[in-house]
């Protein structure tokens, strides 16, 4: 297949992925869209929503349509780092006993870290290397994780008792934080039909690891105009209240701003979206679409924002208008 066909086939493949996921996932189109953008761009995703919204199921379906190995870790307070990374265990061999590395659930292409905020910071920190470097170091030995590799974590925003909120450093490793909303009446009806009714539709495999990596490489080549890139960078800078030319919103309501990883995330996911939309260039619209998911977990509201009832979405929207 020549390059031009490969590029043109990108949007087609993307549509197929979305179509197959929709077989088992009713509604949540925006969540699916964002999840696919992050996965194709090669990032980790934090899904936030109340229990029972199908977060875990979505990840399962994703692994099915992409035909990628999937492992699920239910995070609990007594979960230890070795439980997820793996550890050296003593095994009896013909020549005697020896230590052999037993891979943990992290050794999988798609890792679902369910209720990640229930584990202790020590266990959460064990994910850092896997998420950023795509490797695991145990007993001084670093082991590469399979490619493609991404962590999809979920957390419940309402039950905060007995949880360990993720530190900023770890939150920054997530490319997107996707808010999973409660389904509408129509969507709820569809879910009922699918789960407790007769319907037995199942998602099918659309692509494999190789094709996903190829799509990622293609997306990286999407050109971006200087003005569009500048808009994204200005947006990230505008989140910093300490900047001399920071907007009033940032100064008044934000404690700290987004890291350069946020700019990387915005530009790489915007490229994927541009191709999805059948364009070969990034538009302002793409930046605007992906920016909230990239920024909402990287910014921290201050006390004034909390007391005045400001939410992150409106603040990000204000910052985008300022940077325009």
């Amino acid at each position: 297949m020549d390059m031009n066909s490969e590029i043109r086939g990108f949007a087609e493949k993307y549509e197929q992925l979305r179509g197959e996921i929709a077989q088992e996932m009713i509604g949540q189109a925006d969540v699916v869209e964002h999840l696919l953008l992050a996965v194709i761009a090669g990032g980790n995703v934090l899904l936030e929503g109340v229990p029972g919204l199908g977060k875990t199921h979505l990840v399962r379906v994703l692994s099915k349509v992409m035909d990628l190995p999937f492992s699920r870790i239910q995070f609990t307070p007594d979960l230890m780092p070795a439980d997820i990374t793996g550890t050296n265990i003593l095994v009896r061999t013909g020549s005697g006993n020896e230590f052999r590395f037993q891979e943990g659930p992290l050794f999988s292409s798609i890792v679902l870290a369910d209720e990640i905020n229930r584990a202790t910071p020590k266990t959460q920190a064990a994910l850092l290397e896997a998420m950023q470097e795509h490797s695991v170091t145990v007993a001084g030995e670093t082991r590469k994780l399979p490619e493609p590799y991404f962590v999809l974590a979920t957390q419940n925003p309402v039950e905060q008792e007995g949880t360990y909120p993720l530190p900023e450093a770890q939150l920054d490793r997530f490319m997107f934080k996707i808010l999973v909303p409660f389904p509408s009446l129509e969507e709820l009806g569809g879910i009922m039909n699918l789960t407790v009714g007769e319907s037995g539709k199942e998602a099918r495999r659309v692509m494999g690891a190789e094709e996903l990596l190829a799509m990622r490489e293609t997306a990286r080549r999407v050109p971006i105009a200087a003005s569009v890139q500048e808009f994204a960078l200005k947006l990230v800078l505008a989140t910093h209240p300490e900047q001399a030319d920071a907007p009033e919103t940032a100064r008044k309501y934000l404690r700290f701003g987004a890291s350069p990883r946020a700019a990387q995330a915005i530009l790489s996911t915007a490229r994927v979206r541009a191709l999805n939309q059948g364009r070969y260039n990034v538009a302002f619209e793409d930046i605007r679409y992906v920016a909230p998911a990239c920024l909402r977990h990287r910014l921290a509201l201050n006390f004034a924002a909390v007391t005045e009832g400001k939410d992150m979405e409106s603040i990000i929207s204000g910052l985008m208008n300022f940077s325009d």
């Binding site: 020549d2 390059m3 590029i7 080549r221 050109p223 105009a225 003005s227 260039n281 990034v282 538009a283």
Partner: protein, 487 residues
């Protein structure tokens, strides 16, 4: 251009609004016209500026992208396939440029509309409403501006009249006098142009009149001096027994003088020399000139020289500038006829009973004013307004002397009426004077018994309202009690 015009409209509205607001604070003649001109000028300038501005390829691409190209054109201008790192990158860039070209081909240029016309138009609309509100609310300054405009027209006419009068007068004047009159006319013109109100104009006219009087009295002095010299010479010649010469000099007859000198002998010449020694100035010079005829000189030339010496002083005689004088008089009359009843009243400080007197009121304006300093003269109120703040004006041009000249009661119309003033303390530094029918006359005397009671009452009230101690108030009351008892 549309965008520029929209911005211009907004900017013009802002300028017009500022102009209208300013016209409420300070007097701006033709403020509405200026506001309209600002609006039109800003609109046209911005539209032209926008039309002449060179639009770069990138700006054009951004504008086109706003019409649905979604940054295709702008990106195509930024990327180059040759700069791509690998084959897929090159292919991607080529496709992007091709895609942008196709999108541009399908773009309808008519759809390209300026992006942000709505905002400036909204701003212009708001400005328009505010301007309309400003125009609907009556502006007290408008009347002042109209008065000022009328004054300017009047002053221009006066200036022209003064120039014409000066030209008429120049006919019978010497060169020096012409120069002086021209200078006076120029100064008058300049002062009138700078005048902000009738008072300024009156000051200027009065100054010119004074200067003209000075010039006339100066030339009159010269003529008198020359006449005196001729008289002295004639008398000296008579005393010396040279009657024929004395008569010729007295008559100013050059021919007769030449004839008398023609037959002059040595004795006569010697007598003339002695006469010259007795005299001084022009008379001496004339006598010496006459004596030179006896030393073998030309009698005709000597006579001419002598007469010239005597005539030099009285060349023009008293400077005649009647046209200018008349013009200044009519200017003053015209100025006082504008309805501003200029008035000067002498104040006796805080004492009641001090009477004001109507000044050179043109149309019966009987304004009255009073200074709060003893004996100080102040300009009166305009029209029939009988109230005026007694605070003296600090402007040096309104000094006492100036007003003494302009508002000299002696120059007032005969139909003035006396007024009685009553003062009312308004605050720290302001006294209001209420004018009314007078009880006394300016030059007449008022019986002490008629005023002492009121005087005592006013001062006792003043003492009560002042920040004085009880003891001090008691002293004041006691003083006036004794004063009225004595009476």
């Amino acid at each position: 251009m549309v965008r520029g015009a929209a911005f211009g409209l907004a900017a013009g509205m802002a300028c017009a609004l500022v102009m209208l607001v300013l016209s409420r604070l300070v007097m701006i003649p033709d403020a509405k016209s200026w506001a309209g001109a600002a609006l039109a000028a800003a609109g046209i300038l911005c539209a032209l500026g926008n039309m002449l501005r060179k639009v770069s390829d990138r700006d054009a691409a951004v504008q086109a992208d706003r019409c649905g190209l979604m940054e295709r054109a702008a990106t195509a201008l930024d990327v180059s396939p040759d700069e791509a790192a690998d084959e897929i990158g090159r292919a991607m860039r080529e496709m992007q440029i091709r895609d942008a070209c196709e999108a541009l081909e399908n773009l309808d240029p008519k759809k390209i509309r300026p992006g942000s016309v709505r905002r400036p138009l909204a701003a212009a609309g708001i400005g328009c409403v505010l301007c309309a509100v400003m125009l609907l609310i009556p502006n007290a300054m408008d009347r002042k501006a109209e008065d000022f405009k009328a004054l300017q027209v009047k002053l221009n006419r006066m200036t022209a009249e003064a120039e014409q009068a000066a030209k008429q007068d120049e006919a019978g004047l010497t060169e020096a006098e012409k120069q002086a009159l021209r200078k006076l006319t120029e100064d008058l013109k300049r002062d009138l142009v700078r005048s902000r109100d009738e008072a300024d104009a009156m000051v200027a006219i009065d100054r010119a009149e004074k200067r003209l009087e000075q010039m006339q009295s100066s030339t009159a002095g010269d003529a008198q001096k020359a006449m005196e010299a001729a008289q002295a010479l004639s008398e000296a010649l008579s005393r010396a027994g040279l009657d024929s010469l004395a008569q010729a000099v007295s008559a100013g007859d050059e021919q007769a003088l030449a004839q008398a000198l023609a037959g002059m002998d040595a004795e006569t010449a010697e007598a003339l020399g002695k006469v010259a020694e007795e005299l001084s100035g022009e008379a001496k010079e004339a006598a010496e000139a006459m004596a030179s005829a006896g030393e073998g000189g030309d009698a005709q030339q000597a006579a001419s020289e002598a007469m010239n010496t005597l005539r030099q002083g009285q060349a023009g005689g008293t400077m005649s500038a009647s046209a200018m004088q008349q013009a200044l008089q009519s200017m003053k009359a015209a100025m006082s006829g504008t309805g501003s009843g200029s008035d000067g009243s002498q104040s006796g400080g805080k004492s009641p009973g001090s009477s004001g007197k109507s000044g050179t009121s043109g149309q019966g304006g009987s304004g009255a004013g009073s200074g709060d300093g003893a004996g100080q003269q102040m300009p009166g109120g305009s029209g029939t307004d009988g109230e005026k703040s007694a605070k003296p004006r600090s402007d040096p041009k309104y000094r006492e002397s100036t007003y003494e000249t302009i508002y000299d009661p002696e120059k007032a119309d005969a139909g003035f009426r006396d007024v009685m003033t009553e003062q009312k303390r308004l605050g720290e530094d302001s006294i209001q004077i209420q004018a009314g029918e007078g009880k006394g006359t300016v030059d007449g005397s008022v019986p002490y018994g008629q005023v002492v009671g009121e005087y005592a009452r006013t001062e006792t009230q003043s003492a009560d309202s002042e920040n004085l101690t009880g003891q001090q108030r008691e002293w004041v009351r006691e003083y006036f009690r004794l004063l009225t008892e004595q009476n």
